[in-house]
């Protein structure tokens, strides 16, 4: 499987979840795991370009596919990805635990809706839980990210 552009072998054990494979085998700990049953959205990654829950996939299923994690959005030392920049500017995070999942969901959302309406923003982030911010600043960050992406 290709993770952030680099080819890696799939794990030997088919029971390995994609989320655990990314974190424990590849050291890509930017993908966070919260509930590990598909509710919280922290582990969201791009699978062939579309956001999915990495805790609800087996790593072997990613063989032959492309996975992008939060680490793959911007190289170290280079400018932040527009969605990361927007979360930074709008204070779209406090503790930061949910943030990688939100960012990956929003990257997917803006690919489908480059100029999202408020309803599309809400629908796009509805599958991600944040226990700190109350979402207002995250919604602002999505709109700002759309501006920065243009």
């Amino acid at each position: 499987m290709k993770v952030n552009g680099v080819v890696h072998p799939a794990p030997a054990d088919p029971r390995r979840l994609l989320s655990d494979h990314l974190r424990h085998d590849l050291g890509l700990t930017g993908t966070h795991v919260g509930c590990e049953h598909g509710v919280c959205g922290c582990c969201t990654v791009l699978f062939d370009g579309a956001p999915v829950r990495s805790c609800l996939m087996l790593a072997v299923q990613a063989e032959g596919h492309e996975v992008t994690t939060i680490e793959g959005l911007a190289a170290p030392g280079s400018p932040l990805h527009p969605v990361q920049q927007a979360f930074h500017e709008c204070h779209g995070l406090q503790c930061g635990f949910c943030t990688p999942g939100f960012v990956m969901s929003v990257v997917g959302l803006l690919r489908e809706h480059p100029n999202p309406t408020e309803a599309q923003v809400d629908e796009g982030i509805a599958g991600n839980l944040c226990r700190c911010t109350g979402y207002a600043s995250i919604r602002r960050a999505v709109i700002r990210a759309a501006e920065l992406t243009k």
């Binding site: 049953h37 579309a50 087996l58």
Partner: protein
């Protein structure tokens, strides 16, 4: 490892998948995994064998058949939601899909998987029932059709045999008045109660062991919904009445 030990199989064709299902004891089919993998992670499901059908080619089509929309086993819910064909031939289907979990889940989840999982509080089984659609199942014995009315037998139980694979769901063309209404504590959650209208037909979900047909003029007749922390039986009956009125007001 979160899931209990299982043997993993990734067949490349429907025939190969059916041969596996026929020969293996205690096998589960893995499609989108958005219901099955949580159960595996909690070890509520501990199948000895997992038959992952995602490597089967040409099983993800959405196409027009017999005046309706046929959705193959690997068509993702988001793809059906965005399908021009579904919007044109059976607009109830994309409308219902927008109520199923969240877009990120629908990017991976499948329509056939939801039907095979048969959660009584989920939307798609009720949609198939309200429309009087059917599913096509395959095994080493051949293919057969199971009408919606015979598909859902109990809580998360279907009329599929152990060795059968659901290869397609068929939703009839539907241009009469339609609607779906549900109430849940949080957006994207399973419904406390819900209803699907097509013309004069009403299918309810979340209020019995399976989706059930009901009389729109007396929708709570004979219903005995269960109660839990989120809703009492009386509240669910109240929701059925209110949601039905809303669906048939137009």
């Amino acid at each position: 490892m979160k899931p209990a030990r299982f043997e993993y199989h990734a067949p490349r064709s429907v025939e190969e998948a059916c041969a596996l299902l026929a020969s293996l004891e205690d096998a589960k089919v893995l499609a989108g995994g958005q219901s099955l993998v949580p159960l595996l992670n909690f070890r509520l499901a501990r199948p000895a064998h997992l038959v992952d059908i995602n490597r089967i080619a040409n099983l993800d089509r959405i196409y027009e058949r017999d005046g309706g929309v046929a959705v193959q086993a690997l068509a993702r819910q988001s793809g059906v939601e965005d399908s021009e064909l579904a919007a044109r031939v059976c607009p109830l289907l994309p409308a219902a899909l927008r109520q199923v979990a969240h877009r990120v889940i629908r990017n991976r989840g499948t329509v056939c998987g939801s039907l095979a999982h048969a959660d009584p509080a989920s939307e798609l089984p009720a949609v198939l029932l309200a429309l009087n659609g059917h599913v096509v199942v395959a095994s080493t014995r051949g293919q057969r059709i199971i009408p919606a009315a015979e598909l859902f037998t109990s809580v998360m139980q279907t009329g599929l045999a152990q060795d059968e694979l659901m290869v397609e769901a068929w939703f009839p063309g539907a241009h009469g008045k339609y609607g779906i209404a549900e109430e849940s504590r949080r957006h994207g959650d399973f419904a406390l109660a819900g209803g699907v209208r097509y013309g004069d037909r009403l299918a309810l979900f979340g209020v019995a062991a399976t989706p059930v047909m009901a009389d729109p003029r007396n929708p709570t007749n004979g219903l005995q919904p269960s109660g839990d922390l989120e809703a009492t039986p009386e509240f669910r009956l109240h929701l059925v009445q209110t949601l039905t009125e809303r669906l048939f007001a137009a």
